[in-house]
Assembly symmetry: C2
Homo-oligomer: 218 residues x 2
Amino acid sequence: MINAPDKLSTKERIIQVAERLFADKGLDGTSMRDIADAAGVNLASANYHFGSKDGLIAAVFQRQILPMNAERLKLLDTLEAASPDTPLELERVLEAFIRPAVIQAAESRRDNKPFLRLMGRCLSEPSAYSEKYVYPHFTALIKRFYTAVGSSVPGLSQEEVFWLVGFVAGALHFALHMWSTENLPHKPARPLGAEELVARLTAFAAAGLRSGVAGKTL
Amino acid sequence: MINAPDKLSTKERIIQVAERLFADKGLDGTSMRDIADAAGVNLASANYHFGSKDGLIAAVFQRQILPMNAERLKLLDTLEAASPDTPLELERVLEAFIRPAVIQAAESRRDNKPFLRLMGRCLSEPSAYSEKYVYPHFTALIKRFYTAVGSSVPGLSQEEVFWLVGFVAGALHFALHMWSTENLPHKPARPLGAEELVARLTAFAAAGLRSGVAGKTL
DNA sequence: TAGTGGTTTAAACGTTTGTTTGAAATAAAC
DNA sequence: GTTTATTTCAAACAAACGTTTAAACCACTA
């Protein structure tokens, strides 16, 4: 049970390698043997520690999404605690949604753990996977942001909030995908900093959300 | 070679079923046997008509993306032909990008051909697939839209256009994904019409793009 | 009627898949 | 040091994978 300080445990190695391979080649495109070989671990060890491939997939998603969404909720909590009576400023709400994803993506990239590529694909994996591993982590969070955005932008119906927040989520996830993919066509030479990306996404999303009420007056 | 008028050819049945299964279960998650069985066709026929699974995948993507992007370019051509000297209105440029995707998605849904689900996943398939089947169809198109957007919104650098158009593409594709997925959490009861979706996406994207220059003055 | 080219078929090819086995190795507890 | 529990290992399991084969089938021509 005690590991050498300079060497990660077998279980940890497996889950880290699985992260990368799932992100690179997809869930179905990655075999347990791929993971075991890349981790320098016996094939049966992976099944010993995670029970099955399904268990390993669930562990990978949980490890990635749980802390990110917890941070999102925490930011929203502190925002609401700071000004309990006045409606929140839209930009702050959006930052609470956007920054944890970008930050975790940046940290992953620094450690060469391609969380963002996995994240970017999360919501577009085959529906069976999404319903099993992704949606459960998001339903509560999204509901919370719906009400926050709804009160920050007066005049939007629930239905409009649903679609607009969806647009924002799409922009965010595809931005993370672009941010992480190296050989994207037409990619500019200068790499974007994390806070730069947060700022641009927030401004873009805020303007787009406010257009939802502006457009109705036409 | 002559088929009964009320029955599609084997090749056509295969490619239509492949479309649906690829969209539902992913490229790697769908086997040639799945496709052959669902199409009521012998397994070897699929390989006879398309050479290999790779050939079938390429055929599916080509059939979906080619006409959509051709329509996008045509709309842009007519826009520029109509007013050759003045810069294009941003909303018209965005519509040329957004509407063909939504329309084709709507037609596919009417015919129960889930093109939009496939489309929504196109750009987030494992990178090997994207580079092979998706990027080649988009590089020329996107370059064209970069310049169009750049001239429609004066003051944006090339780099800003790159990221902002990326945000728009993300919003569009995730919107199509939401539009097509039935059992999405918190989905409103009222279904959105195609033109309604185009209008909302266009307004959202236009406001977001213009925020790119507005934010610089701060 | 015999023959021709395009198509479909059942069966099999070798490989890879997720998972399980039982023994060997290692660590922890007494 | 002996005994437990935990972890690793090579090997094997049945099932599913993409692909290929060679024979059968079918519409048509000569």
